[in-house]
């Protein structure tokens, strides 16, 4: 609501200052419009990345400064723009309005609401482009960011402030992992603020994700920044930076933020499109020369600040879509080299029913291990090795049937480990339950449970232990390394449940 006395006050103030200083503006004229890139003459004082306003109110962003011309990317339709129309500089670098009001909202990269709800109140203007925090302000990754996905939390742990790439072909569950991670954050006492940036996606896909987050109660601490496939390439280009700018607003307040870029392949496409229209020299696969910098400067803004600087963090989960499992293509290799590890999803695994279809051999977390809790570390240490051995043995076992007992046992264990790591979508598990499952399988407690009953057994066992052995859950929740006594208790509880289950 506008307070009328305030308006009058401002009008009076404006009139009083009327004769004091003139308003100075740099004004240019549209020379031509090529696919959303406007060539403007004049604007001699324009800066790179500056926001400009066209005659009809359309916003633009300065992307090229030439001797006589300035190239401006349109940030919305601009259908009514014609040659000769005026363009004004604003003196502002392109920025986004960030405030706590954004939580639960779906916005575009300019901060305009897309969910049909009320306008977002004026908060702080956060610059879309910003130099990442320096070495002095940072500290090593030391707090886990739990995804609720057993395979990830056990073998490819992610820490707060880490950049973990999710890579794989289309339809293998990359977004599912990201969405599950967002959903899982509600299990924290103070939920990590989640920002889902949709770049170049179908509006229906974006709506689906937003609906799911709403349905599962995750929207309260989440923000969706959407630049769909039908939005201008300039908006798609800005989307991940806008998401990061919002994340930095919360970071300043000492909060932990998780940001998902879904996906950076389409972001690279959008930037390629802009660069080609801007007539920048094309390089490999027609991408411009600064395509690496495009992603490195974005992901460098993921950070874990030290306590002197508020102690907040931004964890980035960029997503890259590969073609035919080729992770050695241009953009995938770029982003792999920038991030602190990758979760590689493989179509063969997906088709053989292993979901999430994580290829453990090619997936890695370079810094997350130090953030893993003692409890998880103590049970998951063996899992990765066992799975690698199983994969190797399974390949050889196909050639012959005469296998010794030890090999057969190892194969059986491998099958069970693979089975326990399967997990349905939208069902992230709290860490104590993840530990219970992994502990049970690595200690051979599930060796006599038939594979087809595995998931039923797991679910019921979790319910049984949560109900009857609260102490175990409490013990595991502390994150401390599992003591012999606790291990014994878990074994006892599992055996007890097994007796009732197998009867």
């Amino acid at each position: 609501m506008i307070d009328s006395s305030k308006i009058i006050e401002k009008l009076e103030k404006g009139l009083m200052t009327f004769s004091e200083e003139p308003r100075m503006q740099s004004v240019g004229k549209i020379e031509k419009n090529t696919d959303g890139i406007i060539v403007v003459s004049g604007l001699y004082k324009a800066q790179m990345g500056e926001e400009v306003i066209f005659e009809d109110g359309t916003q633009g962003m300065v992307l090229n400064l030439d001797e006589d011309y300035v190239s401006v990317a349109l940030l919305s339709g601009g259908e009514s723009l014609r040659e000769g129309a005026t363009v004004k500089t604003t003196g502002r670098m392109i920025s986004i309005n960030a405030s706590a009001d954004l939580l639960g909202r779906i916005i575009n990269p300019l901060g305009e609401p897309l969910d049909g709800k009320a306008k977002i109140k004026q908060g702080e203007q956060m610059p879309i482009e910003k130099i990442a925090a320096g070495v002095v302000e940072r500290e090593p990754v030391n707090t886990p960011l739990k995804t609720g996905i057993k395979a990830i939390d056990a073998m490819i742990p992610i820490g707060r402030g880490q950049r973990e790439l999710i890579i794989g072909d289309r339809g293998l569950g990359k977004t599912a992992i990201a969405v599950d991670t967002i959903i899982n954050q509600k299990q924290n006492k103070k939920p990590v603020i989640c920002i889902y940036v949709a770049i170049g996606q179908k509006q229906s896909s974006i709506a689906q994700v937003a609906d799911k987050l709403q349905e599962l109660g995750a929207m309260g601490y989440s923000i969706v920044v959407a630049a769909g496939a039908s939005d201008p390439a300039s908006l798609q280009y800005l989307a991940p930076y806008a998401g990061t700018a919002i994340a930095e607003y919360f970071l300043k307040k000492g909060e932990d933020v998780l940001i998902v870029y879904d996906d950076l392949t389409k972001h690279a496409w959008a930037y390629r499109q802009i660069s080609l229209v801007l007539r920048r020299p094309a390089g490999r696969e027609a991408y411009p020369g600064d395509i690496f910098y495009l992603h490195s400067r974005l992901l460098e803004r993921a950070v874990k600040l030290n306590s002197k600087n508020g102690g907040g963090s931004i964890t980035a989960l960029p997503i890259i879509e590969t073609q035919a499992n080729d992770i050695s293509a241009y953009i995938p290799t770029n982003v792999i080299s920038i991030t602190d590890g990758q979760i590689y999803l493989q179509s063969d695994l997906f088709n053989s029913g292993i979901r999430p279809a994580i290829n453990v051999g090619n997936s890695v977390s370079r810094v997350g291990g130090s953030a893993q809790t003692g409890a998880m570390k103590s049970v998951a240490g063996k899992t990765r090795l066992e799975l690698a051995q199983y994969a190797e043995l399974a390949a050889f076992a196909q050639f012959g049937s005469d296998l010794d007992a030890a090999t057969l046992a190892q194969l059986e264990r491998g099958k069970r480990t693979t089975e326990i790591l399967k997990q349905p979508q939208y069902k992230p598990l709290p860490e104590p339950l993840e530990i219970l499952s992994i502990f049970a399988v690595t200690n051979g407690l599930l060796d006599d449970v038939p594979l087809e009953d595995f998931h039923k057994f797991e679910q019921e066992c979790h319910a049984y232990i949560t109900k009857n052995y609260k102490k175990i859950i409490e013990e595991l929740s502390t994150g401390q390394k599992i003591t012999e006594a606790v291990g014994k208790e878990i074994k006892e509880a599992t055996e007890k449940f097994k007796k009732t289950f197998l009867v």
């Binding site: 307070d3 401002k10 404006g14 200052t17 009327f18 003139p22 308003r23 004026q122």
Partner: protein, 120 residues
């Protein structure tokens, strides 16, 4: 034709500080359509560089202006006047791509824009 050549033609089109119609006829009769476009653009640019436009609400307002001071601010530039009654009071000065608003209309526009931004 290169940009430098066009620039030379532009300079050659002036006699003193005024455009020379004879020279212009001579130049334009011998150049291609594409070069003609560039030539016109260069002429416009030259004019912009060497002229300052002062917009006032009405003819009477000219008396209130401190012409000597304006000339001091923009030496070696020709000052041209035009009238725009919507300014209400005050003056607008256009020097190349820089626009100096010193009038009620733009101040009010500023205030409205500010209020809109604050109270969305």
């Amino acid at each position: 034709m290169t940009k430098k050549q066009i620039d030379k033609l532009t300079l050659a089109s002036y006699k003193g500080n005024k455009l020379n119609i004879k020279k212009i006829y001579k130049i334009t009769s011998g150049i291609s359509r594409r070069d003609l476009k560039m030539y016109i653009y260069a002429l416009k640019n030259w004019e912009r560089k060497h002229n300052v436009e002062i917009i006032i609400p009405d003819e009477k307002y000219k008396r209130n202006l401190n012409l000597a001071m304006i000339k001091r601010i923009f030496p070696e530039k020709e000052i041209k006047y035009s009238i725009d009654s919507t300014l209400t009071t005050g003056v607008k000065i256009i020097n190349q791509d820089m626009v100096y608003d010193f009038n009620l209309k733009d101040t009010l526009e500023d205030i409205v824009e500010h209020i809109r931004a604050q109270y969305d």
